[in-house]
Assembly symmetry: C2
Homo-oligomer: 243 residues x 2
């Protein structure tokens, strides 16, 4: 049985050829031939069945045969905003895992104690697309460029918003308990996770002034990327739509 081939084609329905990078992969690696069936993921909620019509050295032309709109697997939007770790690899790992588990948006924050103040989001974007294909997610998660902490919290956040931190002296709600409250079962969720040295106390207070709820992920002492991933798993458990 031939394995189904999935490609990311953001404008699948209005185009008749694969985007350049996907075409190269299709032609050189997968050796796609005219007549082959392929699946296009538009990243906007639909998969499309298509038949390959012709292949040149750089182009792969197709004809759509069926559009398959997908159902959301969870309620609301899940948005993680995190201060990237010094080791960029840990953020790449987080991006891959967060997409597999299910997320709508990832932002990177520049904080008072950030150990990394620049972030190549093109690389994260590629990892996100690859994880989206691998885990067959109908919607492409949005990756935002790095932004100063204050600019991020000052924006309107029409969602249940949390700042997770480790200061015992600031009262903290239990994140999982908060997002699983029955009256909030479909709200969007935004969760802030700080750098290795945590947010500053000022940052926590500023976020609370902007409507963010001071929260804890639990008793464990977690690395930044592990905290980010735990927040995504908690959010999925709270918002998932059961089969």
């Amino acid at each position: 049985m031939k394995e189904t081939r999935f490609f990311y084609a953001p404008n699948a329905a209005s185009q008749n050829q694969l985007p350049p990078e996907e075409a190269t992969h299709a032609i050189r690696v997968l050796r796609i031939k005219p007549g082959d069936e392929i699946f296009l993921m538009d990243g906007q909620g639909s998969f499309h069945r298509a038949e390959v019509e012709s292949v040149t050295s750089k182009h792969c032309f197709y004809r759509l045969t069926e559009t398959l709109p997908q159902q959301p697997a969870w309620h609301g939007r899940i948005h993680l905003a995190i201060a990237p770790t010094k080791d960029a690899g840990r953020m790449e790992w987080l991006a891959e895992k967060a997409v597999e588990i299910g997320i709508d948006e990832i932002s990177f924050l520049e904080c008072r104690f950030s150990e990394r103040r620049t972030m190549r989001t093109e690389r994260i974007e590629r990892i996100v697309v690859s994880a989206m294909k691998q885990s067959r997610k109908p919607w492409k998660p949005q990756v935002n460029p790095m932004i100063p902490f204050n600019d991020f919290i000052a924006r309107a956040h029409p969602s249940l918003s949390f700042i997770c931190h480790c200061y015992n002296e600031i009262p903290r709600a239990d994140l999982f308990a908060e997002i699983t409250k029955p009256q909030e079962s479909q709200s969007d969720i935004t969760i802030l996770v700080g750098p290795e040295g945590d947010f500053s106390i000022d940052e926590v207070n500023q976020a609370m002034d902007c409507g963010f709820i001071s929260a804890t992920l639990g008793q464990s002492r977690l690395r930044t990327e592990t905290a980010g991933l735990s927040a995504v798993v908690y959010s999925q458990l709270a918002r998932r739509i059961l089969d």
Copy 2:
């Protein structure tokens, strides 16, 4: 303020010097001096405060000043048994994250469709100790050598035991719903996660014959290590003891 130094010393209370590897690290990297205060983690539930008495080129002698028994952070034992991925790095990552989040025992299974049939658990052991120190876990998680799937399931498992798999044709309980049932709130949990190509249908049936519950982690299509980590996060949420 001087940072607190944590060392893993399995027999902290009956010894008066750090184990060789920790001693080397203490002397060469941290430049510990007589009079310094150190913390010893015995991996058996206690931290010990100690004062360094003398240091040679290879030995670091201490005197215990206080034993601090720790409270468990979760109920029951959490045991993940997983078929290692082809890429050993993915298992090392999983071991680190599972320890941070909280686990009692990790086993490696050799399955019908395993892509990796040998596993250097010494390396996993080192990662587990390092993550235990970093995340200040009072108990050292146990790492078991690789074992054939059939041998593992044939053992007595006096716990709530699950086999997670992707076969739609075999009825599956929802793992999170099962482990959060009020009447099971303190039971030990054992969870089996298969290799990249999943367990075989025979393996699933054999495990069910041995009392394992057929289960799903949810709708998402997860890589092996992501499935393993999700299972650990679910178990923690189900068994954690709130502050």
